[in-house]
């Protein structure tokens, strides 16, 4: 009940003209970047970070959250119209969605996606409203050992999201390593500054994020084809038969997506895949899947939107991001001087509730944008990438320079951009590196405070039950792939 009261005050904040504008801008940009291959929500947030200097943290997080869930809607457009998913989480939508477009039913596919996404996004935001506060309250008793264990879990969980756990862990450790550059806040010792004064303050999160998600994405995508044919969009409102076939997949997709989104180490991509598999399993005629079954569009689309809101639960309540984009939003919170974690609901309640309220509003805006305006957005897909990437690079330079008025940061941007390009090329995830950089100082402080409390004994991490449970979950995340590998080898031998 108290959550609903807090949500009411959140709506009062979210409905101010400036926050409404930021919400609209967020979902609009999210819709755009979700639709345009070659730039994702993580890159868009990285690029817009410098532009939010001077605004208050609440408006900035409303903008970033809007980009995050708006991109889930936008990714659908390219999946259905050109069979090129704008986002990884829209891959499953393209299987049947594109087939529907080829049969002249692109409008129905886009319409049911928009309605399903709205229902799922709103229901999952309600789940976030009800689940996150008690989770945060339960975590309020966290001391330094629990924070230490949370950071370890967060880094490991994000490392486990991508393809290779080893690469993810290595990237996370690289981020922690970069966080040690500059003056040690506790001892005052200068570390890894190489005699350069500009490194004494450390390497800024914004430089690393813009390089790894902005420049690297441009370098990876600048070879893309210039122009694609776009299917015409008509009759967006689904027929009664479409609706009858889609309503249960939307409900199932919502439940699956929210649950998977809440769990660390998962995300919208896995959620949409599971929803598709479930729909195929429960279908009376599974052979229709792959040749234009509307259930194959409705389920995954509802699921990836519910997962996006679900991923905000651990991010807001515990400070553990469930995806690369939420890792960057977490970094933005830190940039604004806000400590992520269970205390967020206590110390920054107005921010949290205003952001949650804005998510309800954003979902309504997205529904309005996607039903009557889907055809207009489809036209935007005709803009070739070669027109887009030069200004993106220019924005990267201006943004990074502006955070410290430093040309050295621009050089760092170029160097890290090349590193990010190589990481993409060889399938090293960049998000754990950014998260390691963001959480590095919290990790080091909580380790020192924990060992100070225990007079130097590491047993404090296993004798405190919550810390022990979090570390056991972390160990399970690391050991699961090894156990699965051994089991599959045994099966192969047998």
């Amino acid at each position: 009940m108290s959550s609903l009261l807090e949500l009411g005050s959140g709506f009062a904040g979210a409905l101010t003209p400036w926050n409404l504008l930021m919400c609209f801008a967020g979902v609009f940009v999210g819709q755009l970047v979700g639709a345009l291959p070659g730039i994702g929500p993580a890159s868009a947030i990285a690029l817009l970070l410098p532009l939010t200097f001077g605004t208050d943290a609440t408006s900035a997080i409303i903008l970033f959250a809007g980009i995050y869930y708006g991109a889930q809607y936008g990714g659908t457009l390219t999946s259905i119209l050109v069979s090129v998913p704008g986002e990884a989480s829209s891959v499953m939508t393209s299987v049947d969605g594109y087939q529907m477009a080829l049969q002249g039913r692109a409008g129905a596919a886009l319409g049911i996606s928009a309605i399903g996404s709205f229902i799922a996004g709103t229901a999952a935001t309600l789940g976030l409203t009800l689940l996150a506060p008690p989770l945060a309250r339960a975590a309020l008793s966290f001391g330094p050992p629990e924070y230490f264990a949370l950071v370890v879990l967060g880094l490991t969980a994000l490392a486990a999201v991508g393809g290779s756990l080893l690469k993810g862990l290595a990237a996370g450790v690289a981020g922690l390593l970069v966080s040690t550059v500059g003056i040690d806040q506790q001892t005052g010792v200068a570390r890894f500054d190489f005699g350069q004064v500009w490194l004494l303050d450390g390497i800024e999160f914004i430089v690393v994020t813009v390089a790894l998600f902005g420049v690297a994405e441009v370098l990876s995508s600048c070879t893309m084809a210039a122009l694609r044919p776009i299917t015409e969009v008509r009759n967006l409102l689904p027929t009664r038969e479409d609706w009858r076939a889609s309503r249960m997949p939307i409900l199932r997709g919502t439940g699956i997506g929210f649950l998977i989104g809440v769990l660390p180490a998962t995300g919208a991509t896995i959620a949409s895949f599971v929803a598709y598999v479930v729909e195929k399993k429960v279908a009376k005629d599974p052979s229709r899947f792959g040749s234009g079954a509307i259930e194959g569009v409705a389920g995954p689309e509802a699921s990836n939107n519910a997962a996006a809101s679900g991923a905000m639960v651990p991010m807001l309540a515990l400070g553990v991001p469930g995806s690369g984009t939420t890792a960057i939003i977490l970094g933005a919170l830190v940039m604004f001087g806000i400590r992520p974690g269970p205390e967020l609901f206590e110390k920054n309640a107005a921010l949290v509730w205003t952001v949650i309220a804005s998510m309800y509003i954003g979902n309504v805006i997205l529904l309005i944008m996607n039903l009557p305006l889907a055809g207009l957005f489809a036209q935007l897909l005709k803009v070739p990438y070669r027109w887009l990437y030069p200004p993106i690079l220019a924005l990267c330079i201006a943004g990074v320079y502006s955070q410290a008025n430093s040309v050295e940061d621009v050089w760092l941007l170029v160097g890290l951009g090349v590193l990010g390009f190589a990481m993409r090329r060889y399938d090293w995830p960049a998000a754990p590196l950014v998260l390691g950089l963001v959480l590095g100082p919290i990790f080091e402080n909580s380790l020192r405070q924990s060992l100070g409390l225990s007079h130097g004994s590491a047993s404090i991490f296993v004798t405190r039950p919550i810390a022990a449970v979090l570390l056991i979950v972390t160990a399970a995340l690391v050991l699961y792939p090894l156990v699965a590998l051994v089991a599959s080898r045994r099966r192969a031998v047998a």
Binding site: V173, L177, R191, C222, R386, N405, Y426, W428, L485
Partner: protein, 152 residues
């Protein structure tokens, strides 16, 4: 067929691993323990050692288990290299030429030379973009962007 990592993959892992080893060597002389808690050198040393081990694992584990993914089909790198070169030139030109001229030159090069768009169109779009960024960052956000000999 046994898995063989590509040269680029090995080089990237070696770069991470080398950085880890450098961190270990640099952190070793720092105070490692201070009373009950780690000193300034402890975590950098641990991070460096872990990064070196994990980077080695990235290459060795798929080779030893034979379960690596096939190397990429070798997407072209010429264009990304050219774009990187343009970025390096723009970064070098920021202070002597100023933000507007450096960014205008970067955009013009990318549009007119790399993407082969008509020179008039490329010039107009580059000028408009550089001008818009100047207005946003210098006028709106008050960022003291590097000024060239022309004062902007």
């Amino acid at each position: 067929m046994p898995y063989r990592p590509s040269v680029g993959e090995v080089l990237l892992a070696a770069a991470f691993g080398g950085t880890g080893l450098f961190w270990v060597l640099t952190a070793a002389p720092m105070p490692l323990w201070d009373g009950f808690a780690p000193g300034s050198g402890f975590l950098p040393l641990v991070y460096g050692a872990l990064l070196a081990l994990l980077s080695a694992g990235v290459i060795l584990v798929p080779v030893l288990t034979g379960r690596g993914e096939a190397p990429l089909a070798g997407e072209p790198v010429r264009k990304p290299l050219v774009v990187t070169g343009a970025l390096v030139a723009a970064a070098a030109a920021l202070e002597p030429l100023g933000f507007v001229a450096a960014v205008f030159a970067l955009l013009l090069f990318l549009y007119a030379v790399v993407e082969r768009l008509p020179v008039v169109v490329a010039t107009a779009v580059s000028a408009a973009t550089a001008g818009a960024l100047y207005v946003i960052f210098r006028t709106w956000l008050g960022v003291p962007l590097p000024a060239g000999p022309w004062g902007f």
